[in-house]
């Protein structure tokens, strides 16, 4: 379980988050949704200690992110921020291999290599393993980054807009893999998504943010209602159902 208590945050004097208190349940796939500038990414980055906590308290599976040593946290959660360019010329396999670094600290063993291979296979990167990061497409690089987080093999996995740059087939297969991690692996996953139907189709738990505040949380069916979404995005939205799950339509 990830517990967030009384978290407020400001960047350059501009308040981004206001007194957020919420919980991300263990063993579930949680989606953070909301309009642009709602503070979703900031909240996820605070949980993943990519930004220092200014106010409030966050614990991940009982570890306080402000006080737990960062290398200990790296074996509890993996976080993938929005993609940044890497200065060094790395092959895809080398990048993914870094996912094992928190476990071996520079001395990889055979089980580490096996794990890397599995991650490459899981994201259909085996053919590209020897290509350089700056020689592959944006979507392929994105998959390599996700594979690195995957190889980290932690109880918690936090992904900030992992669907960026992915085509429909890779997006679908990523969501299916994350679902599998939760259902078969007993892991917990949190993602920030813009395309709301990915949350509708795959998420167990949804947290909706707006203007730096939590405006709704609960199961997908509870949060993704016409009234809530229309208010959240300030635009008329219809919600139907498809195979028992909500289906969000903007062409109302």
């Amino acid at each position: 379980m990830i517990q967030i208590q009384g978290v407020s945050h400001a960047i350059g004097g501009t308040p981004i988050l206001h007194d957020i208190t919420t919980t991300l349940p263990k063993g579930r796939l949680t989606a953070l949704i909301g309009p642009n500038g709602a503070g979703k990414s900031t909240l996820l980055r605070l949980v993943g200690r990519l930004e220092p906590l200014q106010q409030g308290r966050i614990t991940v599976a009982g570890h306080d992110v402000a006080t737990t040593p960062t290398d200990r946290l790296a074996r509890v959660m993996a976080i993938l921020g929005q993609q940044t360019a890497i200065a060094s010329r790395l092959r895809l396999a080398e990048l993914v291999a870094f996912g094992r670094w928190p476990h071996h600290k520079g001395r990889p063993g055979p089980q580490d290599q096996a794990q890397v291979w599995l991650a490459l296979k899981a994201f259909a990167l085996t053919d590209l393993a020897d290509r350089f990061l700056d020689e592959v497409s944006g979507g392929q690089a994105q998959r390599a980054h996700i594979a690195m987080a995957w190889a980290q093999d932690t109880d918690w996995m936090l992904l900030d807009e992992p669907l960026n740059n992915l085509d429909m087939s890779h997006a679908r297969s990523l969501m299916a893999r994350l679902r599998g991690l939760v259902d078969q692996g007993g892991r917990s996953v949190a993602i920030v998504v813009h395309e709301i139907n990915y949350a509708a189709a795959w998420a167990d738990h949804v947290i909706a943010l707006k203007g730096g505040r939590v405006v709704a949380q609960g199961t997908a069916a509870e949060v993704l209602t016409e009234a809530r979404l229309s208010e959240l995005y300030e635009t008329p939205i219809r919600v139907g159902t498809h195979q028992g799950r909500p289906l969000v339509l903007h062409h109302a």
Partner: protein, 311 residues
């Protein structure tokens, strides 16, 4: 690859030491050449390793510590200490301890200053670079200003700040410089696995459990030590490191620091020993190697800039 480079360096060193040797004062000539060789190799190692380290911390492949004003800070520090403490204080110390204390102050100052700059400027890389470049100009102007006030008739300060020379090396500093360089390089070598992670950039490094801030400050401290050594020995060489780091990356085709660090040190040493041999013995122009190196390095920088490799 590394083995071949080491062999090449050994060969060059042998030519350097033994060429045209003979006659009476063989021992004297060997001693003179040996000192110079040791100085060149020390400077080369310091510049090569410092540049690789700095590029890793800055997540940027077109920067060198000197472009960002490290060497200017060291020169300013030297002048400033003389002003503040006067001839009787620090300046009166024997060269070794004086050098050590300068390096100690430099390490603290540089980690704080450039640590702040890098950690805060990560979102706007070009602005950060420009700030560093202008800081360098500021430090150089301040040294010139202080130098003028210290001794209005003395232009030597300004002169020595502005021109590098591989030809005039302070022999009294050499043993200290070599020992300090060796210690810093060893420390960098021990960190090489962590440096690999640092090179991924801040977010992935933090996610993988690297204590990012401490690592950045520590590596900048090492860079400060190495730049102090090379600046004290030969003066400012902003672009040489760029060529060397580019060579190391190109030759190794790997991002592993365990390979990059020795490759950078070796290619720097080969360039310097070979270049000095060519210019001093063959062309009879000992003084101009640094100018040529800087010219080539500057062009290489512009090339990288135009290729859009600045980020």
């Amino acid at each position: 690859m590394l083995g071949a480079m080491a062999l090449l360096l050994a060969g060059l060193s042998a030519v350097w030491m033994l060429q045209g040797i003979g006659g009476g004062n063989r021992g004297f000539i060997l001693g003179l050449r040996g000192t110079k060789l040791a100085a060149l190799v020390t400077v080369a190692t310091a510049i090569g390793v410092a540049t690789i380290l700095f590029q890793t911390v800055a997540s940027n492949r077109v920067l060198t510590p000197s472009i960002m004003g490290f060497d200017a800070l060291y020169v300013l520090l030297q002048t400033g200490l003389v002003v503040v403490l006067g001839g009787a204080g620090l300046a009166g110390l024997p060269p070794g301890p004086k050098f050590l204390s300068e390096i100690a102050v430099m390490t603290v100052l540089a980690s704080l200053l450039f640590g702040t700059l890098l950690l805060r400027g990560a979102r706007d890389v070009p602005r950060m670079i420009l700030t560093g470049v202008i800081l360098g100009v500021l430090f150089r102007s301040l040294s010139g200003f202080l130098g003028r006030i210290l001794d209005p008739n003395e232009f030597a300060v300004v002169q020595s700040v502005s021109f590098a020379s591989f030809n005039r090396v302070d022999a009294t500093l050499l043993p200290w410089a070599a020992a300090i360089t060796a210690a810093a390089v060893l420390a960098a070598w021990r960190l090489s696995a962590r440096l690999d992670v640092l090179a991924l950039g801040r977010d992935p490094a933090v996610s993988l459990g690297l204590a990012h801030r401490g690592m950045v400050l520590g590596v900048l401290g090492l860079v400060a030590v190495l730049v102090s050594v090379s600046t004290a020995l030969v003066g400012p060489v902003p672009f040489f490191g760029l060529i060397v780091a580019g060579l190391a990356h190109g030759l190794m085709r790997s991002a592993r620091h365990a390979a990059l660090l020795p490759a950078a040190a070796l290619s720097a040493a080969i360039l310097l020993v070979g270049g000095q041999w060519l210019f001093e013995r063959q062309l009879g122009q000992a003084a101009t190697l640094s100018v040529v190196v800087e010219f080539a390095g500057g062009l290489f920088f512009l090339y990288l800039l135009l290729k859009g490799r600045i980020r």
